[in-house]
C-alpha cells in the first residue's frame, strides 16, 4: 500500500496502449508492404479504380468480420455470419420483392432478422450453455436451409425496388468529390466499424464484451447478469450481419440463397489477422478492418498478377501465416 512502488505510474497503460498501438501499426505495416509489393509487381495494381475495387471487395467481409470480432472478444466464435448474411438478404428480398414493402422497411426487416437470429445463437450459448462453436455451427446449417426454403431455392431479384442496388453501389462521396467515387458499401462498412468501435470502447455493452472474454466467472461473481449481456452481444453481431446481408444483396441486386458458406472462415481470419485473440478479452475493430483489407488486397493483387489459381491459394495461406508471424514476433520484441 504505502510501499506500493511507483513503478506502475511511469507506464500508465503500458501493457495495452503501447503494444496495442504497435500491434495495429504492425498489421498496418503488413498491409502497406503488400500494397507496395503488388504496385511494383504490376503497374496496373495501383489505380484509383482498383483501389476502390479492393475497398468494395472488403465491404461485405469487413462487416461480417466486425460482427465476428464482437463475438470473439467475448471468448466465443461465430460460424454463422456467412449464412446469416444470406438469410437476411433473403428476408429483405421477401419484404421488398414478394411483399412489396417500402425500401426502409425491407432494410429494417433484414437487420431485425439478423438481430433475432443472433439472439437465438446468444440464447443457445448463454442460457443453454451450448459451446459457441456448436451453437453457431447449428445456426449456420439452420439458416442455410431456411434461406433456401424461404426463397424457394431461387434468387430473389430487387428489380422492383429502384434504388436498392444504390445502397451498396451508389456513391454519395462520389457525388461530392467526383474524382473519388467510393461506393456507399464502403461508407457503410466504415460507419458500422465506427459504431462498433464506439460501442466497444465507450458503452457498458462494450465493457462487458471484454469482461466476459477476460473472465466470465469473475463477472458473474460480481453480480452481473452475464447471460443477458452475452445475448445482447450476439444479437448486436447478428444485426451487423443483417447489414452485411443488405450490402451483398444490393451489390448483386438479388438475394442469392445458396451463397455464404465459407464466408465465416474468411471473416474470422480477418479478425485474427487483425490481432484479436481467439481466447477472448482483447481485440480491436481497427485491427479487424486492417485484417479484412489485407485479405482483400492479397486476393485482388494475386488476381491482377494473374497468378495461377492453385498458386494463389498457396501464396494466400503462406502470407496469412507470415503476416501473423511478423505481428507475433514484433509484439514479443516490444514486450
Amino acid at each position: 500500500m504505502t510501499t506500493a512502488t511507483d513503478i506502475d505510474k511511469k507506464k500508465p497503460l503500458a501493457g495495452l496502449s503501447e503494444s496495442g498501438a504497435y500491434q495495429k501499426m504492425l498489421a498496418f505495416a503488413s498491409l502497406i508492404a503488400l500494397l507496395i509489393g503488388f504496385s511494383i509487381a504490376s503497374p496496373n495494381f495501383m489505380q484509383t479504380s482498383n483501389m476502390i475495387a479492393i475497398l468494395q471487395a472488403t465491404s461485405v467481409n469487413g462487416v461480417l468480420a466486425v460482427a465476428a470480432t464482437l463475438v470473439i472478444i467475448t471468448g466465443g466464435i461465430d460460424l454463422s455470419v456467412g449464412t446469416l448474411m444470406t438469410f437476411c438478404a433473403v428476408i429483405a428480398g421477401v419484404a421488398l420483392t414478394y411483399l412489396g414493402l417500402p425500401l426502409l422497411i425491407g432494410v429494417a426487416a433484414a437487420i431485425a432478422a439478423g438481430a433475432l437470429c443472433g439472439l437465438c445463437s446468444g440464447t443457445f450459448v448463454a442460457k443453454m450453455k451450448i459451446p459457441p462453436f456448436i451453437a453457431t455451427l447449428g445456426m449456420m446449417l439452420i439458416l442455410k436451409g431456411l434461406s433456401l426454403v424461404i426463397s424457394g431455392t431461387r434468387p430473389i431479384y430487387f428489380n422492383d425496388t429502384p434504388g436498392f442496388d444504390q445502397i451498396s453501389r451508389g456513391s454519395l462521396i462520389g457525388e461530392v468529390f467526383p474524382t473519388l467515387p467510393i461506393p456507399n458499401g464502403v461508407l457503410i462498412l466504415f460507419l458500422v466499424a465506427i459504431a462498433a468501435s464506439y460501442i466497444l470502447g465507450r458503452t457498458v455493452l462494450g465493457r462487458y464484451t471484454f469482461a466476459l472474454g477476460s473472465n466470465e466467472e469473475a463477472v458473474r461473481l460480481s453480480g452481473v447478469n452475464t447471460d443477458a449481456w452475452k445475448m445482447r452481444i450476439y444479437a448486436l453481431a447478428g444485426g451487423i450481419c443483417g447489414i452485411g446481408g443488405i450490402l451483398i444483396a444490393s451489390r448483386l441486386n438479388s438475394a442469392q440463397p445458396a451463397l455464404g458458406l465459407g464466408y465465416e472462415l474468411e471473416a474470422i481470419a480477418a479478425v485474427v489477422i487483425g490481432g484479436t485473440s481467439l481466447s477472448g478479452g482483447r481485440g480491436t475493430i481497427l485491427g479487424t478492418l486492417i485484417g479484412a483489407l489485407i485479405m482483400a488486397v492479397l486476393t485482388n493483387g494475386l488476381r491482377v498478377l494473374s497468378v495461377a489459381q492453385e498458386w494463389q491459394t498457396v501464396v494466400t495461406g503462406a502470407i496469412i501465416i507470415l503476416a501473423v508471424y511478423a505481428d507475433m514476433a514484433r509484439r514479443k520484441k516490444t514486450g
Binding site: 504490376s42 496496373n44 495494381f45 489505380q47 479504380s49 482498383n50 475495387a53 468494395q56 471487395a57 461485405v60 433456401l148 431455392t153 431461387r154 434468387p155 431479384y157 428489380n159 453501389r169 461506393p183 451483398i248 451489390r251 448483386l252 441486386n253 438479388s254 442469392q256 440463397p257 445458396a258 451463397l259 458458406l261 486476393t299 485482388n300 488476381r303 491482377v304 498478377l305 494473374s306 489459381q309 492453385e310
Partner: protein
C-alpha cells in the same frame, strides 16, 4: 401402386439454378409418368465422396431406377455395380460414367457448347484481340470442359485472339465479380469475357457494371433472370444455354422406360443453343431458358 415407383436422382449440385431447372424437368416427368422422385446433390462439385454417400442412401430405399450425374466418372462404379446386380437400371445425366452400366446418358456436349461460345466471341470482336475466362470450377467436369472447349477453340481457330487469363470464382456471384474486376484492372485493353456458368456470368456482368467498363463483349452460360435481363439490356452479348429442364425430363423418362424393360437410346443429347437479344423470345429458346 404408382406411388411406389421410386426413382432417386443424385445430382452434382442442388442449389444452383441450373440444377433447380433440371429438378423441375424431372418433377414434370415424374408427374406425367406417375412416379416419385427425389433430387439431391452435394454443396459443391468437389464433394465426390459425399455424392457417393447420397447414392448409398438412395439405394437403401429400394429404388426402381436411379438417375445419376457423376462428379467423378469412376468413383461410384462399385455402388453402381451393386445397383446393377439388384437389377436397378441407372440413367446417367449431365455427364457420363466410365462404365457400361448406365443404360442411357442424357447430357449436353459442354466442349462443343463452349466452342460455340468461342466462335461467337471471335466473331463479335472481329477475330483478334484479348479475351479472358471467368470459370466456375477448376476441377469439375463441366468446369474443365467449358474452359477447355473455349480456350482450345480459340487456340486452334483464331490465332489472333489471345486468352490472357482463366480465373475461377467458384460460381459464387460475389467472388466472380471481384475476379472480373481484377482481370479488367490487369487487362484494360480486354475485348471480351466468357463466364462459364450462371454465377460466373452474372459476376462478369456485375464487375463490368461496377467498374463502368464499356465496349466489352460478354458471353455467358446457362440462363436465369439476371442473365436474361443483361442480354435484353445489351450488357451481355449472348449466352449458351443447355436444356436443363429437358435433361431432367429425359432422365426420368428414360428411367421409367428402362424400368419397364423398354429400349432406351444409349445417348440422349438434349442439345444446346446460343441465344442473344435477337432470339431470346423465340419459343424454341424461351422453352429451354429458366428464370
Amino acid at each position: 401402386a404408382a406411388e411406389d415407383i421410386y426413382i432417386p436422382l443424385v445430382s452434382k449440385g442442388f442449389q444452383h439454378q441450373f440444377w433447380q431447372a433440371v429438378k423441375s424437368g424431372a418433377e414434370q416427368a415424374a408427374d406425367e409418368y406417375g412416379v416419385t422422385i427425389t433430387f439431391e446433390g452435394p454443396d459443391n462439385e468437389t464433394m465426390v465422396d459425399r455424392q457417393i454417400d447420397m447414392l448409398a442412401a438412395a439405394l437403401a430405399n429400394n429404388p426402381k431406377a436411379i438417375g445419376f450425374a457423376a462428379l467423378d466418372s469412376q468413383a461410384a462404379i462399385p455402388l453402381l455395380k451393386q445397383a446393377n446386380d439388384k437389377g436397378i437400371p441407372i440413367i446417367a445425366f449431365d455427364s457420363g460414367v466410365d462404365s457400361d452400366i448406365p443404360v442411357s446418358t442424357a447430357t449436353t456436349d459442354n466442349l462443343a457448347a463452349a466452342s460455340l461460345a468461342a466462335d461467337k466471341m471471335a466473331d463479335m470482336i472481329g477475330g483478334k484481340g484479348k479475351v479472358a475466362v471467368v470459370a466456375h470450377d477448376q476441377t469439375s467436369r463441366t468446369g474443365i470442359d467449358r474452359r477447355d472447349g473455349f480456350v482450345n477453340r480459340m487456340a486452334e481457330k483464331y490465332p489472333d485472339i489471345e486468352v490472357v487469363t482463366v480465373q475461377y470464382g467458384q460460381g459464387d456471384h460475389l467472388k466472380s465479380t471481384e475476379v472480373t474486376k481484377a482481370i479488367l484492372t490487369a487487362n484494360p485493353d480486354l475485348n471480351g469475357i466468357f463466364g462459364t456458368n450462371e454465377g460466373s456470368a452474372i459476376g462478369v456482368v456485375n464487375g463490368v457494371q461496377e467498374l463502368g467498363t464499356e465496349g466489352l463483349i460478354i458471353i455467358g452460360y446457362d440462363s436465369g433472370k439476371a442473365q436474361k435481363d443483361a442480354i435484353k439490356s445489351g450488357l451481355m452479348a449472348g449466352a449458351i444455354t443447355q436444356n436443363p429442364v429437358g435433361i431432367g425430363y429425359e432422365t426420368v423418362k428414360a428411367a421409367v422406360a428402362a424400368m419397364k424393360g423398354e429400349d432406351v437410346p444409349a445417348l440422349i443429347d438434349t442439345g444446346f443453343y446460343y441465344y442473344d437479344a435477337t432470339n431470346i423470345d423465340d419459343p424454341k429458346i424461351s422453352a429451354v431458358l429458366y428464370d
